[in-house]
């Protein structure tokens, strides 16, 4: 799975959680604070990513995540196959 594909999915998840942000303006350098993601949004984002990419985020790693690229890179290194969407 390409990093671009992971990034695309993560940006789509973020776009569903924030208002007034054009997804086209989000990239790997976008930080959560500026995007307006609150702490629960970030928790939900990680859950969505776990479900989609079959990864498990370790608490110790997660607390250092501050931007989109942190999640994308973690998934690139740790993912198995993409999970099929649940019914």
């Amino acid at each position: 799975m390409s990093t671009d594909h992971i990034e695309e999915k993560i940006i789509a998840f973020i776009a569903s959680k924030v208002e007034n942000v054009d997804p086209a303006t989000i990239d790997k350098s976008s930080d959560f604070e500026t995007l307006g993601l609150d702490s629960m949004d970030r928790v939900q984002l990680l859950f969505d990513a776990e479900e989609t990419f079959g990864v498990t985020f370790e608490d110790e790693e997660v607390k250092n995540f501050s931007c989109v690229g942190d999640i994308v890179d973690y998934i690139s290194k740790n993912h198995s196959a993409e999970q099929p969407p649940e019914a």
């Binding site: 569903s16 959680k17 924030v18 208002e19 629960m40 949004d41 928790v43 939900q44 859950f47 776990e50 479900e51």
Partner: protein, 408 residues
Amino acid sequence: MRIVVTGMGVISPIGSSVDQFWNSAVTGQGGIRQIACFDASGHRSRIAGEIPDFDPKSFLSGKQIEQTDRFTQLALHAAKEALNDAGDLSGYPARRLAVSLGSGMGGFSTFESSAIRKLQNKSVPPFTVPRTMANSAAAWIAAQHGLKGANLTCSTACSSAANAIGMALDLLRAGRADAVVTGGAEACVLPLTIAGFEALHALSTGFNDDPAHASRPFATGRDGFVMGEGAGILVLEKEQEAVRRGAKIYAVIAGYGGACDAAHIVAPDIDGQIAAMQAAIEDAQITPNAVDYINAHATSTPLGDVIETRAIKQLFGDHAHKLAINATKSLVGHTIGASAALGSIATIMTLNTGVIHPTINLTAADPECDLNYAPNTALHKTVRTGLCNAFGFGGNNATLVFTTPPDS
């Protein structure tokens, strides 16, 4: 000081607005169908009153949908209509705008789906708890509409909405709020709730191939209730303030009475039902003979409809035969913690229109159910005082009294 109803909203198996709900009700169009939201083939009861076309995306963002159970979404839909109907409440301080909502099961859909995941050793969605908690709907209504006063949730099974509306009345009478958004919401057409009520032998199982005739309060051949879902919301405020701001006044909420059987956890008890009706009538400072109409609890169980009929006859005496009575559950099924909210809206619409919606599927009445239940065809009658009954598991009985607006 009188408390009045100035806004109404509803979403139900027979309509997603008060107008749709009422038009379907008076023309006797029921909403019981075979269960579509999950595969019910393994269940003995495979029918329900589902809301077929509910689309939360039409009024909630993706994030809001992610964070809310269906019962909250239904409550938000009805609250939006009710508050829009009530008009401008901005003259009241936000801290004086309260919410009092009923739900028997709360976010049970979320509980069920998350429990399945947990039992499969999967992670649980982060919003499992805030979606499941019973006060989720009341909290979301407050957040969406800036209602910063007391925020209460009442969970007394099938009488939840009646007690929630009664609590709203008490908040206003006690001077603890200037306006209260109140009612009930339920969304438990789910495998676990259906299985649970099946295990109690409480659900209809003999009409799976003929769902339209399954919910048949007071009729021969009834074999249990049909699960339903929905939400009904009222806006209550003091009469003088409603008049001052030029609000439309639908009805006076004149009385509320509650009584517990303090006996069996699920079996109905005639004394508790009588006590609740009596207390509500006394609270309204009227006599039983002043009552014209009763929106019965009437769930279509073999025992419950007989007990309620006996309770009405014992309390009202000869006057019982002059009462117009109907069963909203014949149309929508049993919406549990929302049922008294839907019943209250039907009662208020009757006060305003002089039309008593029919109890459908009542071609042959049980000989033990011998009152006037508006069988199959709407009745036309001036109704000045109406009761709404709600009797729940836990022996929890509650009755509300509504009367026509002051100048009608």
